[in-house]
Subunit: 520 residues, 2 copies
Amino acid sequence: MGCREADPVRFELDGAILFSADLSPVAEHLKGYVGEIEAGPLQKGVPDDEDGPHVERMEPAGQELSLVIVSGRYVRAHEALLRLRKELSARMGKEHRIGVRGVRIDRYTISFSVPEAPDHPVRVPFATSLDFEGDTAVMTLDDVSEDFLSRNYVDRLVALVREKVDAQRYEGKEEFWEQIWTSTPREMPYQEDPTEDMARRGWVQQGPGKGRWFFRPQAAAVIRAMERIALEEVLRPLGFQEVISSSLVPFEVWLKTGHLKGVANEIYYFSEPATRSEEAWEELRDLVKVTREVPRDKLVGLLDAPRAGMTYAQCPNIYWSFQKRTVADEDLPILVFDRTANSYRYESGGRHGIERVDEFHRIEPVYIGTVDQLVELREGLIERYKHVFNELLELEWRMAWVSPFYLQQAGMAGGGEDEEATAADERREGTIDFEAYLPYRGTREESEWLEFQNLSILGDIYTTAFNIKAQRHELVSGCSGIGLERWTAVFLSQKGLDPAGWPEGFKRFLPELPRGFTFH
Amino acid sequence: MGCREADPVRFELDGAILFSADLSPVAEHLKGYVGEIEAGPLQKGVPDDEDGPHVERMEPAGQELSLVIVSGRYVRAHEALLRLRKELSARMGKEHRIGVRGVRIDRYTISFSVPEAPDHPVRVPFATSLDFEGDTAVMTLDDVSEDFLSRNYVDRLVALVREKVDAQRYEGKEEFWEQIWTSTPREMPYQEDPTEDMARRGWVQQGPGKGRWFFRPQAAAVIRAMERIALEEVLRPLGFQEVISSSLVPFEVWLKTGHLKGVANEIYYFSEPATRSEEAWEELRDLVKVTREVPRDKLVGLLDAPRAGMTYAQCPNIYWSFQKRTVADEDLPILVFDRTANSYRYESGGRHGIERVDEFHRIEPVYIGTVDQLVELREGLIERYKHVFNELLELEWRMAWVSPFYLQQAGMAGGGEDEEATAADERREGTIDFEAYLPYRGTREESEWLEFQNLSILGDIYTTAFNIKAQRHELVSGCSGIGLERWTAVFLSQKGLDPAGWPEGFKRFLPELPRGFTFH
């Protein structure tokens, strides 16, 4: 076995077809019809060496024909039930003037293989029960509607069970990480946490709200200098064009990118007013005027439930803008970036300084082209990033291939047994993390370095999801988020807050710090 | 009369003081005490020529002492009740070992003057009834809690009734508008709606979502050129320093600025996850995976009700950053701007093109200083704006003093009967709108010109609300929102989309349009 498509699977359906009249007078005819249909139409599409669906039991009772149908993967039991209905409807109508009123599935039991029995219980929605017998999962569904079947929920439930069993196998295993390159060590004259230092000097102020910062002129100037460096030293030389994208992402867009499956619990959601009518809002406003508090329960009643969230990464809306488009070959590779949509992630307990925050500012370059074009672009991007981090910012940093372990297992992240064969230039897809040493966190060896930049080629997942095509070529895509707070945190952690100690390459982009304000 | 503070007002309270024992044995003593207290402590603070509170009726019954107290504005009936409790508690405890358990207000009737009887019904929260007898309002409150009184809700309800009566008087009256300056007419070679034209050419794409736009490279380049013009030709020459502010505004901040009273029905609200726990979110994610839809009802259950909204204008968070600060005199005037927080307004039916949208991009200069400093700054800003609009963008536009009619009536907007006395240079506070002619809307005379810029000095409302002080001076503040989509809409409406027709002054900031993309 091994390949899932050939894994054994068994569908057992317990249900009924409902007719417009009592079936007892025609019971024998009915049995004959079912026998004919089972041998004929129900087997259509079943390969020669596979078993088709089988009607294990049938029992007319009143106006109902109770049925038990069992199948393998070909013409699954619920498809067999619908075919049976169609065929019976024709015969019963013509011969006996009895119509079909509908079908009912009381219980649907699906048995399928999983890689191994899970250690912890697995739950999935809709299933009445889910049990494991060795490497076989047995899932039962009660009272299944036709709608449920026609929307293909059954296949997705099977996929979800397998995904959850897989996730348990890889739980606790380390993510793939393989160093590609490292800079030489540099002297680190500064050991403080730069955010704390900036807060003391009045360069930044925490808030308003958790995980958000107000950057006063000095800190704002450093961040804007980082932005100019990214624009002038990385993106413009490579031919990237700027777009301005909305910060708001409708669920339809995230359903295509998968964000709502992956990071639903980290998203900031928003609600528009359900109405703008002055009258509807009068009471809330009056309460605010009288109590000087916001009645949050009343407010919720005036809002539409969320249909969208705030940017988690800018790429989904950029892909949306190319949705169902066919791009001119001479425009390939498409190179764009957005630096206008601000990003939001609910970090909760993980917040720290300006480097791990709920609201941050990123430039997101997105590229769409052939694999060869993007592999070449990646080399160009790495060269520009090296120029910036080595010559302008003079950082101590390194690059590593990274991929979640399960992706690596699934063969999606390149790599393999032979480490020599996984050198950067041989990889076609995958993610490179750029990590920098933060002296305030401890020694180089023992402290966690900060991921301050990444670079991905993501294959065709987004070009397929958004149906983005070229005239002749197969398209893949990728992105390379530039986190301005992260660049700033790394730079200040290594170089400190005294401009006298900053490298000349950086000072070209910020010759003088603004003076800010003095408070008494 | 005339001045509201002296307007007649009458408070009538029907309630009780609750004791720890039956009062019948001490009824006579009680009457004596009440008489003493009414004549003594209850009159403390009442001016000689005014009436103090009066106990109109008292009736011991079981453990309760029922009371009717009537007062004018001095020592209002509910204050009298609390004083009475305190004094009785001392006497009854000492003399009769009977304690006070609490007070109860069954009905509180407040009569006060309004400018005139309203034409339409007026509703306010908490009031059981609100009636008007000529220019007197009679409001009754039932079952009033001590908390309600101590939070000063009564005064705010009176103010709210008066505000609503006032609003009816000014309903339908035109807002104040007085032209200060107008450019010479210019030739208008282009008559199209530039947004429609841009959409046809692929410069912009509507969405994702209503009232939001995706700006492709050509349009993004025009918007960024406008930003550079504002920065280099207006803000930097005047000494403005950049700050980076959060796009998210907690309700506490808006309660200080008044936005939740004024524009609650136009705000985009957001919700953070109530928890980040993977387990709590598992079912929602599973449902998304199986159904490829977002179960919005389940989602709402996983979110915290909104405590904040998205930027309506950037100034509130900027004022917050100076909250409770004392600014050094040599830093005055404080000149800052934010261009990072994106703005959101629920426009609903009012949306049009890129000029009236739900999401837009503004530079917000905020200035805090003495009145003289800000009046001088205003002249400097007007001079720079004139330079930009006349010499660089070559627009046809005008400036006008504007103020909502009721502010003008309340004497807050300068102006008056003598039009000659209202010239710009004599005004200390108020708002100037910059309006431009949009040829696609019709003739100069009959079409509505677009407000594409404003400039306000707002007095001390925000410096007071946020307690912002200088060492020696009284501070006022103002702002001057620069809407980049508005500048762009005005420029393209008058000059068209062909760069050959654009003025040289603008082309200095955008020598060449990016090529964008070709779709097949």
